[in-house]
């Protein structure tokens, strides 16, 4: 799973498979961080609070 775990080998299988995995995890974490971060910023800057429509 990690380059420092026992089974890790620097080969194509690992690049592709685990690359895909880390890519997905990365997108999801970035997305979540963005949402939470933006919400906090919105709150701090007082933009939030309204019951705006979000659909």
């Amino acid at each position: 799973m990690f380059p420092f775990s026992f089974e890790w080998v620097w080969d194509m299988g690992h690049y592709v498979f685990l690359g895909g995995m880390w890519y997905a995890i990365g997108i999801i974490s970035l997305g979540l961080t963005y949402c939470i971060g933006k919400t906090i910023l919105d709150m701090v800057s007082g933009k939030g609070g309204g019951h705006g429509d979000h659909h």
Binding site: E7, V9, D11, G13
Partner: protein, 278 residues
Amino acid sequence: MKENHSNDKANKFGMVIDLDKCTGCGACMVACMSENNVPFKKDESKKLDSITWMHLYRLTNKKPFPDTEVCYLPRPCMHCEGAHGHPPCVSVCPATATDYDKKTGIVSQIYTRCFGCRYCMGACPYHARYFNWWDPVWPEGMENYLSPNVSPRMRGVVEKCSLCFHRYQLAMDKAYHEGRKELEEHEYQSSCTQACPAGAITFGDLNNPHHQVHKMVKPSKHGGKPTATNAFRLLERLGTNPKIYYLSSKEWVRRLGDNYLPEEKTGEIGNHQPKGHH
């Protein structure tokens, strides 16, 4: 994986089992159980949850009396090589609890790594893999005979024949101690081979032309298909490329070694390239 074990020569340990000699006496099964700390339960008559690394199949020609014939077939783990070292079970294991050792040709099973998903059992067409449905329990006192060379398994993991790999480890220990790096043919023999009263099992390095096993079946360079008459392997057509060879003088026995379409002749099929992927 880097496979260059410096200047080590690759062995390919395997067996040749002469079905004409095998008497079905069961000694190989028990030799294996007692060598490898295989547990037992009060009821072992449900054969599908009974752990027997070495299993004896009873084959019949299905002809009515008095033309009936019966033949026993001992079945250890086939230690398939597949194509380029990819046996059916190894590549499916998600947690790398089993691997194919290119130095010895042995398919391992690491009980402490296995977490019991049983995918390998589904992958093995020989039913050579067994699951520990129960905690192993020895009646009081009997744990005294357990061998320290093979660790007893816990409930919830898969186990199978290791070709008595610990015997290789111990033999290598001795060799190292004596400053050698190679083993003599007799130094590493599996427990079943050693016990078989009929001498039906021969064990050795299929890569070594001086070893009995090689002389008996003359494995081809490509895929290891036996070139000796009467020799066959189980389910060769699947491309599992097993290292257990069988000898039988009986056509019906040899034909039961693989699946054949009605019009196909025994032994003529099977030059397919071993299957396998990744």
